[in-house]
């Protein structure tokens, strides 16, 4: 069965706009944030038009409807990642907040001076800075798994780091720059054997291929709604129930309590314990719709389509004189191509491509240490999702030849 991109594109209203007259949008920036299908936009619109009220504790009809919608989104997300229970699905603002939650609760309760936290050289700043803050507060040490020239984790170094009995290994499932898909199961098995917990940043994996938390056998998984066809403002922390039960609460306030006295409180049960204050209800509804949409297309089909696109894009990019692509070969990565073009700064590449409606990102993509590793200040990055086409790869390549002509 062929992947019907035309049918999918029709689901995304924004894809039919022109960036300027005669320049239809060629959106190659889904790694930063994906576009939204009409199913998501309408679910949120319908929620606000028909069912909005604050959730929990309300007995009136709207409050019950809103609560049911919000909690059914949690069920959909749990099913999407094959969680054991909805109690393991914590709604946060985004993947960043999910990681900060673990660092602030599990980390503060369990880390002591001298304890080792393991990170990698390819992490997004959101999986570096929370741990750096925690390490500074606790006097903990940070060990880094380096990245090879080919853009993969150097696991021989990981093996030696494990000798130091680290407490937690935090790494990305898929690099937002190199596209590298890391061997989560192998790392998790080794980490657990050494007594360490495993936190996976799934911001780039959950939107693009099937992620099953039980098969992966990790302890925490963080991801963001807006990168997977859902709205901004909501993300997910999935955690193993027995760990979440033991962790102290994160933010304090309404909704996260069972009972409040003037000088103390009893925390609510999971998942509410970690969800203080009125949450992003409409966004939760939108995320639920996004998960349903992705499932209806099929994560396997989406992955196959992106693999075909990235293989084509890499082959074509390598043919452009002066282009250097970072990261592993297509079979070992997702739909992300970060590249440089000799003599042209990535900002100029992005700006000139924008004239033709082509949206790519330029900069360090929140991965400064990774760019330091390759001794480059920035890269241009084209990324692909279910709605991208081979014709758009053609437009990218044509655009790059225009850039070369201008700067030649």
């Amino acid at each position: 069965m062929t992947f019907d991109t035309a049918k999918i594109r029709a689901d995304f209203p924004i894809l039919s706009r022109e960036v300027r007259p005669g320049a239809p949008l060629v959106y190659l920036d889904s790694t930063a944030s994906s576009q939204k299908p009409v199913a998501v936009i309408e679910a949120m619109d319908h929620y606000y038009r028909h069912s909005h009220a604050n959730i929990h504790r309300g007995v009136h009809t709207l409050a019950e409807e809103a609560t049911a919608l919000y909690e059914s989104a949690r069920e959909k997300v749990a099913r999407f990642i094959n969680a054991n229970s909805t109690k393991e699905v914590i709604f946060t603002r985004n993947a960043t907040e999910a990681i900060n939650l673990v660092a602030n609760t599990w980390g503060r309760a369990n880390l002591r001076a001298g304890d080792v936290i393991v990170l990698t050289e390819m992490e997004h700043h959101s999986n570096l800075v929370p741990w750096q803050m925690l390490a500074a507060e606790k006097g903990a040490a940070i060990e880094i798994i380096p990245v090879t020239d080919e853009g993969e984790l150097d696991l021989s170094v990981f093996d030696s780091i494990l000798q130091k009995s680290p407490k937690i290994i935090c790494f990305t499932h898929m690099s937002n720059v190199l596209g590298t898909v890391n061997p989560v199961m192998e790392i998790a098995v080794k980490a657990h054997a050494a007594g360490a917990l495993v936190l996976v940043d799934g911001a780039q994996s959950v939107p693009h291929f099937a992620v099953d938390v039980q098969t992966l056998d990790v302890d925490f998984l963080a991801f963001s709604s807006h990168k997977m066809c859902g709205p901004t403002g909501i993300g997910v922390l999935w955690g193993r129930r027995e760990l979440l039960e033991e962790m102290p609460p994160f933010l304090g306030g309404g909704d996260m309590i069972k009972r409040v006295y003037l000088r103390e409180f009893k925390a609510a049960d999971l998942p509410n314990k970690f969800e203080a204050g009125t949450p992003a209800i409409a966004e939760g509804v939108g995320l639920g719709a996004a998960v349903e949409y992705l499932s209806s297309v099929g994560m396997k089909s989406i992955h196959q389509h992106e693999q075909a696109l990235i293989a084509d894009a890499l082959e074509r990019l390598e043919e452009v004189p002066g282009v250097k692509v970072y990261g592993p070969i297509a079979e070992r990565k997702g739909g992300v191509a970060a590249f440089t073009l000799a003599g042209v700064h990535p900002h100029d590449i992005a700006q000139i491509l924008d004239r033709d409606g082509i949206a790519v990102r330029a900069g360090h993509h929140c991965a400064m240490p990774l760019h330091d590793r390759y001794q480059i200040p920035a890269t241009a990055r084209a990324s692909f999702y279910l709605y991208n086409t081979f014709g758009e790869v053609d437009k990218l390549i044509e655009g790059l030849y225009k850039v070369k002509k201008l700067f030649g």
Partner: protein, 129 residues
Amino acid sequence: MDDMYREIILDHYKNPRNRGRLEPADISYEDDNPLCGDRVRIDIRLEGDRVKEIAFSGQGCAISQASASMLTEEVLGKTLAEVKQIDKQEVLEMMGLEQLGPTRIKCALLSLKVLKAGVYGLKGETDTE
């Protein structure tokens, strides 16, 4: 918008004026725009209160480097008091880029920031003293 890469900017980028280093110099300052990796250094030799020689070095996008090149031409021969009068609007007009968006305006104005910091005697991170 569409003429951001007009001939004059590309010309200054490809054939920068006053590119290099002056050592020793009376004024040296360097700064960067960490978000995009643009970096500009400006060295100045004075004769009395007047800019007798000026050079810039660094790396970055066409906008940041062309702006530095154009600014050095503009400043050569001026007194320090005159240099202090140069404002953002003047630099953007000089480049013909009055309509820049919030991200790229930082690229265009990096060289002015470096020039002003140097002229006002701020200690740059590359100051050898």
